[in-house]
Amino acid sequence: MNDILIVAMVVTCVLAVMPFVPGALELARPRDDQRLEIEQGYVRDPRFFGRSFRHKLAPAIAHAGSALPYRSSIQLHRPERFEVRRDLFVPAGGSIGGVVVALGDADVGRGAKVGDCYATGGVTVTDRATLRALACDGFATLGQDVRIGRWIDAAQDILVGERCDLGQSLSAGGNVRLREHCTFRRLWGRPIETEAPHAAAPITPTIEDVVVFGAKGLSLPRNTVLDQDLVVRGALQIGANSVIRGDIKAHKSIIIQPGVRIEGNVVTRGDLTIAGDVEIMGNIFSERDISIGSRSRIGSADAYKSVYAAGSARLRDRVTVFGWIIAEVGGSVG
């Protein structure tokens, strides 16, 4: 009896102590005792990829000097082949891997494949070409069906042809013009403009000439003028040609009918549908999907703004956005 009791007590003690053993080892020889790292210098920069890439390449370009072409290797995420040329011409169907720098203009032929490219001049990318990443200090022109693997950044304007896949980020110091059926995640331009003549027509106004208020939300009639912020704990519909001089928020979807002008921010926990000819001076934030109708304008030349969709974003014809567009699930034109 006593033996059994002693064994039971020993087993109990061992089982009680066992969970503390790995922790005791961690306390004795700490492997995870440092603070969580906060990047103290971090600031949000829509052109981060391009600027960071140029910054990383600068010493290697300086090292190349004037004896061109210069070939070496460079350590980015992994060691890459590194090449500096005066101008870059990649023939149709040609291929250049690694990191290539053109101290002038770059011309990428039809169907060509290029790794990471930086040009101090302008860049022309012909149809069906594929680039992993592209930075340039001049203008960039992309033909049809061009595919960007990671990102593209131009110090001046970017003109994008039809059906291009723009990777994770496109940013420009100047204008961005996108044609139909392009897909994207993040766009930065001042402004971003779309050309999609075949895009579907704006939604038809269905609102009546009365305020409709119910458990599910609020409908404001056409020509409403409101001089304050509006929060709706349901869905919100704003009638055509209304003017809202404040911020608006809805816990469900928001539908903005044609001709509306909103002078503040638009925030929704649901979908946001913006019909044609709408002007929004503030930021747009949706926890779901966003659709922006033809000829709508977001932000202004003197105050850039953001359009954020936690879901998808769809831009129709002649949409103008001064600032940033983010579509976490993906965006498209048309």
Binding site: Q34, R35, L36, S306
Partner: protein, 417 residues
């Protein structure tokens, strides 16, 4: 008597199970469910104007660090005023503030030499002096990163947001066993608890530092009550009860110094418990009556208010259990129900925060810290004792109508990057 004790034990067990389910839902929300986005990706050419308030009482050791960090922030100077509030300091804090004011036009210190000392009083003075739309508050031992002000200010694009809270990260977690434990508690509290409450449209808390609020609303609510030790929780509930929301910015991270000694921690936690329980008394009924909150939000609000009352409730449950045992009246319901209660109570009730903290450490990539989870058991025993003391203090305050005095947490080092 026996029946009363049995009912009490059952009530305590049910409350513990409710908390357990709450923690389980929070953990699931962070690990498996859709995350609600914060406004951090917004880049705005016209940010709101900010007044940064920094209450300081004898903060000569850290005053320069935080002022340098704020002045280095990526926020337009013309939209920013920095108001360090020297609250009856005797250690040279005022001289440091004078130096910064002379060098920077938008640093406008306040010097409080008369009236009562304390954070609420200092904030009220700052609030009266501030002129900008949004007020951001930092404690003096914090070190904001360059982009932090923008990240916090972004929340106010949402017209429903009355206040915003960033994430606090201990910087001295490698100093002592206590700081390691506190680092884990903080990680669980922010990375899982606060974010989950934000995800689920519940009640994330404004924490009084690394956060901000709309100045006009704070003035409308008569500022901060000098008789409240938990002025941050007080503001949180004032806002929610009136239909405003608190946004939580998990990526708006800022270093803080956590107590390195058990004595300092005891005083801090006791003060928090005392203040929080005052807020419980003040806001429980208005919360239940609010027209702006749904039933889930009210229940969550109540659970949040009761957090610092739970240890005493738990101890009373243990006492009732012991009494029943001594009376030979342990069987409460059928054996099956006792089994269910014991398993739920111990597996989830007592240790629910442990898996919340474990999940948070995984999300932060601090896997080795998970080995320390069993040690939290001792910290909980300590916390139970400390918070129970705070609860008794609060009861005493209410019964005797005592005036409260602010006690600053002792600093042991300078926060540096």
């Amino acid at each position: 008597m026996v029946v009363t004790l049995k009912i009490w034990v059952i009530v305590v067990v049910i409350i513990m199970i409710v908390y357990a389910v709450r923690h389980a839902i929070f953990t699931l929300s962070r690990l498996a469910w859709r995350q609600r986005p914060y406004y951090q990706d917004i880049v705005d050419g016209r940010m709101p104007s900010l007044s940064v308030l920094i209450p300081m009482h004898n903060e000569a050791v850290v005053a320069s660090s935080i002022l340098d960090a704020i002045l280095a922030c990526d926020y337009p100077n013309e939209k920013l005023e920095v108001i360090p509030i020297d609250d009856h300091s005797t250690d040279g804090t005022a001289a440091i503030l004078q130096r910064y004011a002379a060098a920077h036009e938008h640093v406008r210190p306040l010097y409080r030499e008369n009236g009562s000392r304390g954070k609420s009083n200092a904030l009220n003075a700052g609030l009266a002096a501030a002129v900008n739309d949004v007020v951001i508050v930092f404690d003096a031992d914090y070190l904001p990163a360059r982009g932090l002000l923008r990240q916090l200010a972004n929340a106010f694009v949402d017209p429903e947001v009355g206040a915003v809270m960033g994430r606090v990260v201990p910087f001295n977690c490698d100093r002592t066993f206590l700081t390691r434990m506190l680092a884990m508690e903080r990680t669980g509290g922010y990375q899982v608890d606060q974010q989950a409450r934000y995800n689920l449209d519940l009640l994330p808390q404004y924490g009084g530092t690394v956060g901000g609020f709309r100045r006009d609303i704070a003035l409308l609510l008569d500022g901060f009550d000098p008789n409240q030790l938990a002025e941050d929780t007080d503001l949180t509930f004032k806002l929610f009860v009136r239909g405003w929301r608190v946004a939580y910015a998990n990526r708006a991270e800022c270093y803080e110094q956590v107590p390195e000694s058990w004595a300092t921690r005891f005083r801090q936690l006791r003060r928090w418990s005392r203040g929080h329980n005052h807020v419980l008394v003040r806001h429980a009924l208005p919360l239940m009556r609010s027209e702006f909150l749904n039933l889930t939000q009210k229940l969550e609000g109540l659970l949040l208010l009761l957090v610092y009352a739970m240890p005493l409730l738990l101890l009373s449950g243990f006492a009732a259990n012991a009494a029943l045992f001594l009376m030979g009246a342990m069987p409460i319901w059928s054996a099956v129900w006792i089994g269910v209660f014991v398993v739920a109570y111990n597996a989830f009730g007592n240790f629910a925060p442990v898996y919340e903290i474990g999940a948070a450490e995984v999300l932060d990539g601090m896997q080795q810290r998970i080995y320390l989870l069993p040690y939290l058991f001792f910290v909980y025993i300590y916390n139970t004792w400390t918070t129970a003391t705070g609860f008794i203090d609060a009861l005493g305050d209410i019964v005797r109508r005592r005036a409260l005095t602010w006690e600053k947490t002792e600093r042991t080092a300078t926060v540096s990057s």
